[in-house]
């Protein structure tokens, strides 16, 4: 028997802070339908929110003529989320947050979003489009197997 096709849900957000909550709610609704545990849904919500905030602030530079695309692909056992913006993507990942360095002013207080994304989902990768005028972050969170 062939595998069922992934269910695809797409959302477009304006590049305005606060609208990341629309993507969060949508991702949570899809994850509920898939049977994720509450704890993993909370992880997913934070990771999706941070990915959207980065896309709005850094990718689209708060330019409201550009939108952020969010595609959720619900397949057997895993949910993949792509957050797409019109930026050039990350040249390099920021340093890991270091609370001592932050407290001593040696590292910016901000700059924890990418660390949180990486820590909260099973896979995270940042991809720059070949044309150089779009990029996306791809997140995967896997459904726990029931023992």
């Amino acid at each position: 028997m062939s595998e069922p096709k992934a269910a695809i849900v797409e959302v477009r957000l304006p590049s305005r802070l606060g609208y990341e909550k629309v993507a969060m709610s949508t991702a949570a609704a899809v994850a509920h339908l898939m049977g994720f545990r509450e704890e993993r849904i909370e992880d997913l919500k934070t990771a999706v929110a941070e990915a959207c905030i980065n896309a709005i602030e850094h990718g689209n530079r708060l330019n409201e003529t550009r939108s952020v695309g969010v595609t959720l692909s619900a397949a057997a056992g895993a949910l993949e989320v792509k957050v797409i913006d019109a930026g050039r993507g990350l040249e390099h990942l920021p340093p890991l947050p270091d609370i001592d360095r932050k407290m001593h002013g040696q590292q910016e207080a901000r700059g924890m979003g990418i660390f949180l994304i990486q820590a909260l989902v099973d896979e995270a990768e940042w991809v720059t489009g070949v044309d150089g005028d779009s990029s996306y972050v791809r997140l995967v969170i896997r459904l726990d197997k029931v023992a």
Binding site: K21, P97, M103
Partner: protein, 119 residues
């Protein structure tokens, strides 16, 4: 779209008889919350408020910019010699605050009552 952050300050006494300034936060804690978080904290005279409790019980959403505001508050408090405690975080945000190292500079309590009892 971003819901407003509201904050208010209460002056309480711990069971040990110490004065505790409680900064109760409500709504979203994000980049737009600077006045509600840092502004409210900065309105407290530092020398007469050595114990501060940040109460997140009624906070619905915190993002990394909001956590950065908490870190900025901890920096100011550390310089002033104030002790900061935090209560009312959901289990998820308790985990996130722990992941970024906040418990090194502030004690986390599950509830307001447990925090006050320990201060």
């Amino acid at each position: 779209m971003q819901s407003e952050t509201r904050s208010h300050i209460e002056q309480l006494k711990s069971p040990a008889g110490d004065a505790v300034a409680v900064l109760r936060l409500e709504g979203d804690i994000a980049s737009t919350s600077k006045d509600a978080v840092l502004g409210a904290y900065q309105s407290l005279p530092k020398e007469s408020n050595p114990l501060i409790l940040l109460d997140f019980t009624k906070v619905d959403y915190i993002n990394s910019s909001g956590i950065a505001l908490v870190i900025q508050l901890l920096m100011e408090a550390s310089t002033a010699g104030q002790k900061i405690s935090i209560c009312g975080l959901s289990p998820h945000f308790n985990k996130v605050f722990t992941m970024v190292g906040i418990p090194k500079y502030a004690t986390l309590f599950p509830t307001h009552a447990e925090a006050l009892a320990a201060l």
